[in-house]
């Protein structure tokens, strides 16, 4: 019945036109999609009339299906009814969000609210200043978390180029049974180095990727921080070329030789998970998706997967967020007020979201769901060992920093991240192609060029 001409989001037609054209079909679509797992809220009748305003949102397909069901069918529907706005949500694969963003900007038309899993610092000129939204949320639930603020605020232009609704802590997930057998635990990187050869000998290597993908990027940048090597300083100036960076790279190369498998160079974001699920890996650095899936699939060692913060290095225990949800509103959005209100309301009520995501999403405005309250919920999680998820609040509170720490996340840092320069820096040394000093020096030169370029554009 639906013909090729029917635009699902009805952007060009008002909903009245759509309904006049498609009659029952549209309502049927709305009703049908309400039953489907990835619903979009179809045209709604509420209080006997059609909703007045419009709002279109695009975001990723959440790892936890229940979150999308809650978001689309409960949250958006209720918010839409309360605010007299027709909300349309689209979900696409997170790897495609960058492409969509570029396309929407090029087309100067797209969704009112755009979410990506990393702060899109380079899009600063295409979005509004989100300061008023941040102020509104802070008014209701308290201060913007340091992590969120450092990720979405540009101190040079004094602009909030996005609002982060959530972030995902990045722990290590390790096989307690395997480590117990050799009487060790991954408390520090030195411990890991000591345990690695023994674990590898038993057929259970460590799994920290050095590939051109997100997980490797995150893990290695966090690893550098544990050794006191930072890509930029607190004034957003590049500082990669340090002795500590060379130490870190050599350490990791040595760890690779002693306790890892060559497979780590050809990974995609799912690979370290698979490494764990097949029973091989003894330790990976990943979000809790790596424990939730074994629970779901009833893998035999699901109860042996422990969650700990990133091992401590000589400089301390510093980790990054695994992904960070950041919403932005384009300058060309047609429904800015609705978008601003939606975003503010979402962050204020983020407790529901965190619960719906099974503690995957932590609120960037901690006041919405204080850590102590989250810990209580985590403690109630039935999976063994009991209370394993409570460590997440400790990790979120103490050991999670923004990309670009101690500086802020900016376009130059974003480019370093997107070009996977850090995994390349490590992999070249681990595979014996370059010495640690040379690799760090070369990468540092590239980083400096990138920073110079963005400085010229006035963004840092």
């Amino acid at each position: 019945m639906a013909d090729i001409d029917e635009p699902a989001g009805a952007k060009r037609l008002t909903r009245r036109d759509l309904l006049r054209k498609a009659g029952v079909g549209a309502v049927a679509v709305g009703a049908a999609s309400a039953g489907a797992p990835y619903a979009f809220a179809g045209p709604m009748r509420f209080k006997g009339r059609w909703l007045k305003g419009d709002l279109s949102i695009i975001q990723w397909v959440h790892f936890v299906p229940a979150y999308d069901v809650w978001f689309d069918n409960t949250w958006c529907k209720q918010w839409g009814e309360k605010n007299d706005v027709q909300v349309n949500v689209e979900h696409i694969n997170n790897t495609l969000l960058d492409t969509r963003a570029a396309a929407e900007v090029a087309a100067q038309s797209g969704h009112d609210l755009f979410q990506n899993l990393h702060p899109m610092a380079s899009y600063e000129d295409q979005v509004i200043n989100h300061a008023s939204i941040v102020a509104e949320i802070e008014h209701k639930v308290g201060k913007y978390g340091a992590l969120g603020k450092a990720s979405t605020y540009n101190p040079k232009t004094k602009k909030y180029f996005a609002v982060s609704d959530n972030y995902v802590p990045d722990p290590v997930i390790w096989r307690h049974d395997l480590w117990n057998d050799i009487g060790q635990s991954p408390a520090t990187w030195d411990h890991v180095m000591a345990a690695a050869p023994k674990l590898k000998a038993k057929g259970h290597p460590i799994g920290i990727g050095q590939s051109q993908e997100l997980d490797s990027d995150m893990a290695l940048i966090a690893f550098l921080m544990c050794f006191g090597a930072f890509i930029q300083d607190e004034d957003n100036r590049p500082t990669l070329g340090s002795k500590r960076a060379v130490e870190a790279v050599s350490f990791m190369a040595s760890l690779y030789k002693k306790g890892e498998d060559p497979a780590i160079f050809g990974w995609n974001p799912a690979s370290n998970n698979n490494y764990l699920y097949s029973g091989t890996a003894s330790m990976i650095l990943n979000a809790i998706s790596a424990t939730r899936t074994p629970e779901q699939l009833n893998l035999p060692f699901a109860d042996q997967l422990w969650i700990w913060p990133i091992p401590a290095g000589p400089h301390g225990r510093l980790g990054l967020e695994h992904v960070m949800g950041c919403y932005n509103i384009w300058k060309f959005s047609k429904n800015k007020e609705n978008a601003e209100k939606f975003l503010a309301d979402l962050c204020i009520n983020y407790k529901q979201a965190t619960l719906a995501s099974q503690l995957y999403n932590f609120p960037s405005f901690p006041g919405a769901f204080p850590f102590s309250a989250i810990r209580k919920v985590a403690a109630a999680d039935p999976h063994k060992p009991k209370g394993k998820y409570t460590i997440l609040t400790t990790i979120a509170e103490k050991y999670t920093h923004n990309i670009g720490y101690p500086g802020t996340t900016n376009a130059a840092m974003d480019e370093v991240f997107s070009k996977y320069l850090i995994p390349q820096m490590f992999a070249q040394v681990s595979q014996g192609k370059l010495s640690a000093a040379d690799s760090v020096r070369d990468t540092n030169n590239v980083v400096k060029d990138i920073y110079a370029k963005w400085k010229k554009r006035g963004k840092i």
Binding site: D98, T99, A101, A102, A103, E104, V105, A106, M120, S122, Y123, E124, D125, Q126, Q210, S211, Q212, E213, D261, P262, A263, I264, F265, G266, W267, N268, S271, N274, Y275, S278, T280, A411, D414, E415, S418, K419, Y420, P423, Q424, A427, Q428, Q431, K433, D442, V446, R457
Partner: protein, 311 residues
């Protein structure tokens, strides 16, 4: 007599003139819709893309400050770019060389009927019937370090030991050969069909004449079939080369340029730079870099084809 002859002569000339005019007009009429369509949908964005490569446009924006040749010189100084250039060359050349040889063999083998030909042809067509974006994802699974079925076979046929399995996507050489293999795998059916069409279009008389003359096998192929096949073969080679050089799906999904940029090709690097990192101008420059080279290759091959054309 003279008057009639003169009249018929004039009449014939006029008819010829009409025919000639009709020829030109008809040609224009037939070609222009296609040309206009392509000019609008490719020419205009192409012009815009060229413009972008001379600016510092970022983040999806279609305008920026003019920077002249900076993006291009910057690219040349970028080690990753130089690597990408070389890898593109390798990737295209080797995969298409394999494709041409295999497709040529397959086309000749499939042109005559034999039992089971229909089914075997169906099997040959499969890689191309499946959307490439999906089969590339499928190959991620085939090459998975844990669960690769190829490795399973290698281990169980005792070709390699279980702890020495090839790391298909993790070492530079293996990763390069993996993407070349997948690209060749998915292009072979395409080229085979084109060749098959060409081989089938060789008129039966030519075959018969060759048989009478005693030309068989390789001899016949080289002196008889190949010259006749050349127009179609050139089309197959050209399109294969161009599609491979401008396509990013296989390297992007399988290796994303890794390990450490050793399978980065121009298209994936342009994408990474322009879209993921937000440097539209630079990305455009990288993508356009190939253009002169490819244009030279294309024009050269077409020139060669015209020279070698029979009839």
């Amino acid at each position: 007599m003279g008057a009639v002859a003169a009249a018929t002569g004039r009449h014939r000339r006029r008819r010829l003139r009409y025919a000639a005019e009709g020829r030109g007009v008809l040609a224009t009429l037939l070609i222009s819709p296609a040309v206009l369509f392509i000019a609008a949908l490719v020419g205009v964005p192409f012009g815009l893309a060229i413009y972008l490569s001379f600016t510092d446009a970022t983040a999806g924006s279609l305008s920026g400050k003019w920077v002249g040749l900076d993006n291009f010189t910057g690219a040349v100084h970028d080690a990753i770019f130089r690597g990408a250039l070389w890898h593109t060359f390798l990737f295209t050349l080797i995969s298409q060389a394999v494709v041409i040889v295999v497709a040529g063999l397959l086309a000749h083998a499939l042109v005559h009927g034999f039992r089971g030909r229909w089914f075997l042809r169906f099997l040959v067509l499969l890689p191309w019937a499946a959307p490439v974006a999906l089969t590339a994802i499928g190959f991620l699974w085939f090459y998975d370090p844990q669960a690769s079925i190829f490795n399973w076979f290698l281990v169980h046929l005792h070709i390699v030991s279980a702890n020495n399995v090839p790391n298909w996507l993790g070492t530079p050489k293996a990763a390069m050969s993996s993407i070349i293999t997948v690209q060749a795998w998915r292009t072979v059916p395409f080229a085979t069909v084109i060749f098959l069409a060409g081989v089938s279009s060789i008129p039966q008389e030519v075959d018969d004449a060759a048989a009478i003359d005693g030309a068989t096998g390789l001899h016949k192929f080289w002196y008889v079939s190949l010259p006749l096949l050349l127009p179609i073969a050139i089309v197959a080679v050209l399109f294969g080369v161009v599609f491979t050089a401008t396509d990013m799906v296989v390297p992007y999904i399988l290796t994303n340029g890794g390990p450490f940029n050793s399978t980065q090709v121009l298209t994936t690097y342009a994408f990474q730079t322009g879209i993921n990192a937000g440097n539209i101008g630079e990305g455009a420059a990288i993508a356009l870099f190939m253009l002169p080279f490819l244009a030279v290759v294309v024009i050269g091959m077409l020139f060669f084809a015209r020279r070698a054309e029979v009839a």
